[in-house]
């Protein structure tokens, strides 16, 4: 059993998504869905599982996944608890993610044309036109001093290999806080609205199990993200669901 899970984790990892959008689109397309808040809510858990297993990526890459994870968590929370009040900023983050993903989808599809045609029928520029006249035409700007200055300038402008923009770091650090707050809000909302849950297709209990499962997931995600950020020799963490415990917890929350 454990081996099987490990293998799955490995498959996801080597699928090699460079950024969060490729992964999201892949998850949505695998379900034959369109990009919208409903499909995003459906793939949130798979996405978070993937993020939890991010290994071997640079901090900058990890942070791009994490930033999107934060918005997905909002979308999922809202879909589980329609009464959960979101701030204007949160609403616009959600809208923004949808829009960006749609744009990404367009260009990602178009990139297939490039893959298909690149280097197949090449237009060649003419060879260098031969120049018979042998000349030497220097320029007064060429001096020992200026040459040293130019080469120093060129070397100075080369990018350094490892960097993590400060903004991204902040976003990553604050996701932990964000998960804490959101967890509190979901629990709150759950307590307030428990009576209001409509019957629908799901029973109250089923619904609550889903939500609490999600909260437990958030807890794991938080750990996973921290691990991915802190540990270079990071080893995969496998999420194990233990549903029975969760139902007991719900009752405690509700009665409080």
């Amino acid at each position: 059993m454990e081996n099987e899970v490990l293998e799955n984790a490995y498959v996801i990892k080597t699928a090699g998504f460079e950024g969060p959008f490729g992964l999201l689109l892949n998850l949505i397309e695998a379900r034959k869905l369109f990009v919208n808040d409903i499909s995003l809510a459906q793939v949130t858990e798979d996405y978070l599982k993937y993020v939890n297993n991010l290994g071997g990526l640079s901090p900058a890459e990890v942070s791009s996944f994490v930033v999107v994870a934060a918005t997905l968590i909002l979308i999922k929370s809202k879909s589980l608890l329609p009464n959960l009040a979101l701030t204007d900023e949160e609403e616009s983050d959600i809208k923004n993610l949808e829009d960006r993903l749609k744009l990404y989808e367009i260009y990602s599809k178009l990139s297939l044309n490039i893959k298909e045609n690149f280097g197949k029928k090449i237009i060649f520029a003419p060879l260098e036109r031969k120049n018979d006249i042998l000349v030497f035409l220097p320029d007064d700007q060429i001096t020992k001093e200026s040459m040293m200055m130019f080469v120093e300038g060129a070397l100075g402008r080369m990018p350094k290999k490892t960097f993590l923009p400060e903004v991204e770091v902040k976003k990553v650090i604050s996701i932990e806080e964000m998960i804490d707050k959101l967890t509190a809000r979901i629990q709150d909302s759950l307590r307030m609205n428990f009576k209001d849950f409509a019957g629908g297709a799901q029973t109250k209990e089923e619904r609550v199990v889903v939500i609490v499962g999600f909260l437990a997931m958030l807890e794991l995600v938080r750990g996973g993200i921290l691990n991915a950020m802190q540990d270079n020799n990071f080893e995969d963490i496998i999420i194990e669901k233990s549903a029975p415990v969760e139902l007991e917890q719900v009752e405690i929350i509700v009665e409080n």
């Binding site: 950024g19 809208k95 990404y104 367009i106 178009l110 045609n117 280097g119 237009i123 060649f124």
Partner: protein
């Protein structure tokens, strides 16, 4: 000798791209005449062994794409056809948008694109130029080499280019602009 012939001769002699402005300076005629001459030249090159490539304000001559195999064999330099997924995405944005700032590319791809843009610039597939609309920022544009590798005379010939214009002119593009502006104001443009 008419203007069309002169343009053709000049492009052939130079063997490198020339801007419409430069052509007008060299041939000492107005921009309109240059533009007309280029249009006529395009027509008379149809069915010939050489093609006129066009991007923004530059034009150049090249061999017809159908002869790709022959010239690849004749030229000794090895061609690099490898494109990673990141490269494909980035090139797709640059080609179909016909140029974009790094912020726009990052926004659409959801990841930092500075290294991939540098790698593509080194390969000569994209170039960084100052944005004519806002000279405080740079935009990345497709090069003639990129058009050549795609076997097209201009971006308009790319498959799906025409259909795209309708699809993208929607609110999401507008939103993208707002968002990018917001980020650019708070951050260093490059």
């Amino acid at each position: 000798m008419n203007i069309e012939q002169k343009i053709e001769a000049l492009l052939f002699w130079k063997g490198e791209p020339l801007s419409r402005k430069k052509l007008s300076e060299i041939l000492e005629v107005g921009q309109n005449e240059i533009n007309e001459g280029i249009e006529k030249l395009k027509e008379s090159l149809s069915g010939r062994g050489i093609v006129l490539q066009e991007k923004e304000n530059e034009i150049t001559l090249g061999t017809m794409p159908e002869l790709s195999e022959l010239f690849e064999k004749l030229q000794k330099e090895e061609l690099n056809r490898e494109l990673s997924k990141a490269s494909l995405e980035t090139l797709s944005i640059l080609l179909y948008k016909n140029g974009a700032s790094r912020a726009e590319i990052d926004y659409i791809r959801g990841v930092n694109s500075s290294f991939i843009l540098r790698a593509l610039a080194i390969r000569g597939l994209v170039e960084k130029v100052i944005d004519t609309a806002d000279n405080r920022r740079y935009i990345y544009k497709p090069t003639f080499d990129l058009l050549s590798f795609m076997g097209v005379k201009s971006v308009e010939e790319l498959p799906g280019y025409a259909e795209l214009n309708g699809a993208i002119e929607n609110t999401s593009e507008e939103l993208a602009k707002e968002e990018i502006l917001r980020e650019e104001n708070g951050a260093d443009p490059e």
